[in-house]
């Protein structure tokens, strides 16, 4: 018995060596996947991320968990796919074992031993690689998220255990699957199974037409859509249409095109086309689904990475457009309470700035009554005027805007002007174009517009323009009148009262980032202390928007997204490469015989070489070209969606699509050259 065991061991070892061409790439891929899995697990379990100070790190943690879950599924799928690819190639070998008299359980034992050796080597190598490169990857994550100084890298024992268990399960299931395949085998079938006729594809024309229509429809929509909201609602239907169309076209469309080429006799019966066209027909039949898979995954990688890059590298623009001013601090209160004292609040802010050691570039406060309006093609539309919105041109529709009604006193105070207003007169503060510059019409009343100011400090923020509309009224009474004319019977008035005045402090600061954060975090507390000292009974509320705090959160989200996006892209790329390689190798063996016949019949080795090149080129680059086409067609719809997700410079999306596509194509070309070499080495006839 012992002797037998060592025999199996020897056979398994010999098999691994003999199958080096397949086993080595499999081992490398599996190791990379183990390393990536281990690294991401360890980053989470070693609490390296939560060591980081400031809010926003939980976001990164949540993203890591999400990443781990997705990654587990992907890794499992990929390894299973690779394994089935390898085992399928060996059916003939198993049949031979059967004929030589080995029982199925013996064969099972041999392949289990083989799998154990290769897989455990992969797990150990992978973990070793994970330890070595983990720190580097962690530093990359920190740099992306933006806290390189604070994160500390550590190794957690749990991550070792989790990795062992996870891959133990993965490899046990692949081994069981292989055992199952062996038990299905019948030596007689096995020896003859290699050469079988091709299946005939039915319904080529209708399937091609359906695919072309789906693809064309989705392309036309995504290229010509102009409205953001429409883009978002139709994005997923378009994606599904494109995915389906890709499968249909790779499956039937390719046969349709090749069939048409075959029918063109003057084209087909030329030395350089003859062999390529017919072997492509054969290859596309076998590989349509695989190539479509690669195409769709490539598209996803391109879209994800370019979107993540655009978000990450466009952060500052997004931040600026979300935070027109460095700090916006809003205080409001219940109906019964009294608005906080303006001068006192400003004094608190001023003192705090001084204490924290930052300069205030500007600091002002104002009271306001709030409501909303719609500004459509230069015309104000208020509540109860929805009729005006019938048949609206969505392209020109910007959504609803916040309205602040302030008093002349605050306006003059902040701007230093000496403007005057009669009752019923208003000043409008907005850089947006307005049609009727003489009057503001509401359902019940008209107000005379005395002037329109485009660049007051209210709307012209330090970082970007304020979206909101400001109306300046003569005094508090007039302000309330305007407010009630705009929106009679607001539902929230019951709680806050129609005349509740919001108090807002706008501060623009110069100083260190940490100090600015401290300022934004302390200001509400100090303001509340002061208010509570005066009126302890009443309820006050606040919200504060700080560009610096926002920057940390944004960094955590977008940095985390980019990190995960790249992580998955690497995982995907590694696998695409390996799948392509395996396909080329196994097809190389099929084609070897074919090309040797061709040479016997009188094809020169140069012709063989050029035919092979053409064929490999087309098979290899068809998915990439289609993926690039998809991404190009998606450019407009992606840009529109980015617009909706507040990206100030949406041109970035397009730029990043091009950069990502260029990098991706470059990697693809390198892989192609390596693969084509292997393929040629196999096929070349001597």
């Amino acid at each position: 018995m012992n002797k037998n065991n060592s025999l199996y061991q020897r056979l398994a070892k010999a098999n691994i060596k003999r199958n080096k061409q397949m086993n080595l790439p499999y081992f490398v891929t599996a190791s990379i996947m183990v390393a990536m899995f281990f690294t991401i697990i360890n980053t989470y379990f070693a609490q390296s991320v939560s060591n980081v100070k400031y809010a926003g790190t939980t976001t990164t943690g949540v993203m890591l968990i999400f990443g781990i879950i997705v990654m587990s599924f992907f890794t499992f799928g990929y390894i299973f796919y690779l394994n089935s690819f390898l085992i399928k190639r060996r059916t003939k070998e198993f049949g031979l074992y059967g004929i030589l008299g080995l029982e199925k359980r013996h064969v099972g034992k041999i392949i289990a031993k083989e799998a154990f050796m290769v897989n455990s080597a992969a797990v150990l190598t992978g973990i070793a690689g994970g330890i070595v490169f983990g720190r580097l990857i962690f530093m990359m994550l920190m740099a992306m998220v933006g806290h390189i100084a604070e994160g500390t890298y550590a190794l957690s024992p749990i991550s070792f255990i989790v990795t062992f268990i996870y891959f133990g399960l993965v490899f046990t299931s692949t081994t069981l699957y292989n055992r199952f395949r062996v038990s299905l085998t019948d030596p007689i079938n096995l020896l003859t199974s290699e050469k079988q006729g091709e299946k005939k594809i039915k319904g080529i024309v209708p399937i091609t037409v359906a695919g072309a229509l789906l693809l064309g429809g989705a392309y036309v929509f995504s290229i010509f859509v102009k409205v953001g909201v429409l883009a978002i609602t139709m994005f997923w239907p378009c994606v599904f249409a494109v995915i389906l169309a890709t499968y249909l076209l790779f499956y039937a469309g390719s046969q349709f095109v090749l069939g048409a080429l075959k029918k063109n006799k003057d084209f087909y019966y030329k030395a350089r086309n003859f062999v390529s066209v017919s072997s492509l027909t054969h290859r596309m039949k076998q590989n349509a689904t695989g190539l479509a898979n690669i195409c769709i995954l490539s598209t996803m990688v391109l879209v994800t990475v370019s979107f993540c890059c655009a978000l990450y590298f466009g952060q500052e623009n997004i931040l600026a457009s979300r935070n027109p001013n460095d700090v916006t601090f809003n205080l409001f209160h219940d109906k019964s309470a009294v608005a906080p004292e303006k001068e006192e609040m400003l004094q608190i802010a001023q003192n705090l700035a001084k204490e924290t050691g930052i300069e205030t570039e500007s600091l002002f406060g104002y009271y306001s009554l709030k409501d909303t309006c719609i500004l459509y093609k230069g015309e104000f539309i208020f509540k109860d005027e929805n009729a005006k919105m019938n048949g609206v041109d969505l392209e020109a529709f910007d959504g609803s805007l916040a309205v602040h009604i302030i008093t002349l006193e605050d306006y003059n105070g902040v701007t230093g002007e000496k403007a005057s207003l009669a009752p019923g007169e208003i000043i409008v503060l907005t850089p947006r174009p307005i049609n009727d510059t003489a009057e503001l019409k509401t359902a019940s009343k008209q107000f005379a517009i005395k002037k329109i100011v485009a660049d007051s400090p209210f709307t012209k923020g330090k970082n970007s323009d304020v979206e909101d509309i400001f109306f300046v009224a003569a005094d508090e009474k007039n302000a309330l009148e305007l407010r009630n004319a705009i929106n009679p019977g607001n539902e929230l008035d019951a709680i806050f009262g129609a005349d509740t005045r919001y108090f807002t402090i706008i501060a623009n600061l110069k100083g260190k980032s940490d100090d600015k954060i401290a300022f934004a975090k302390t200001l509400p507390t100090l303001a509340f202390d002061s208010i509570k000292a005066v009126s302890p009974e009443d309820s006050y509320y606040y919200n504060i928007y700080s560009m610096e705090i926002n920057r940390i959160e944004t960094g955590a989200v977008y940095g985390g997204l980019l990190f995960l996006g790249m992580y998955f892209s690497v995982l995907f790329l590694v696998n695409t490469v390996i799948v392509m390689y395996f396909k080329q190798v196994s097809e190389g063996y099929d084609d070897r015989e074919r090309f040797s016949i061709l040479q016997q019949v009188g094809m020169s080795s140069e012709e063989v070489r050029s035919t092979i090149n053409r064929q490999v080129l087309i098979i290899f680059f068809a998915p990439l070209l289609v993926a690039l086409l998809h991404v190009l067609a998606a450019g407009n719809i992606l840009k529109l969606m980015a617009d909706v997700f507040v990206m100030a410079e949406t041109a970035l999306v397009i730029t990043w699509i091009f950069i990502t596509a260029a990098v991706f194509s470059l990697i693809y070309i390198i892989v192609f050259r390596l693969t084509a070499k292997t393929y040629y080495r196999i096929v070349e006839w001597k």
Binding site: A271, F274, S278, S279, V601, G602, S604
Partner: protein
Amino acid sequence: MELLEVKHIKKVYNTRLGAKQCVALSDISFEVARGEFVGIMGPSGSGKTTLLNLIASLDKPSGGEILLSGKNFSQIKNRELSKFRRENLGFVFQDFNLLDTFSIKDNILLPLVLADTPVAQMEERISPIVRELGIESLTEKFPYEVSGGEKQRAAIARAIITNPKIILADEPTGALDSKSSANLLKTFETLNKGGQTILMVTHSIDAASYASRVIFIKDGMLYNQIYKGGESRKAFRERIMTNMSLLTEGEGEDE
């Protein structure tokens, strides 16, 4: 001038490490005249296939020379070799060597396509051939859809479509049943009567009896050759058998 002249051909293979040399053919000379049907026989390992590969210009001899219509193979540049092969030689193999990605018709047309023949001319050439070989109805089928005998006839069609000077056949009946074999050999006979020169390597005495001359090879040397002359096929068969047993007897004595 003879059509094919094989002069003192020698072929030595180096083993992998280069230390040992393996002599496949030591010294073989013979000629084939236009319109001859020559069979080459010999036990396994006698060098038959090596000889055929050399004549096919698929391999180069270590010594000696081969001339086809007076043209020395060694003077043909490597780049022109495939063209030469395409224009002058037709091949029929034991496993047919049809490409399963091509229809029967495209398989037959393959050498013409490689020579960039105009489509109209190709159509003109193929129709009498497939009619003659009785595979007219199969042209649109694929190799895996037809029988072995039909495959071999398609292979013959492919071999003769270029009007080659000589057809080289390597065990053409090896994978066929007796009925298909007889059919195939009759086809060869007919082709030969039409003036086609054929050189056929075979194991089968029955197949060889269709030839007009049989060359026997043993241990890389020409052992003997016999001519059919005006003899019947049956009588010729007997003589071939006698020669073969002489050949194999020698083998037995060596052991």
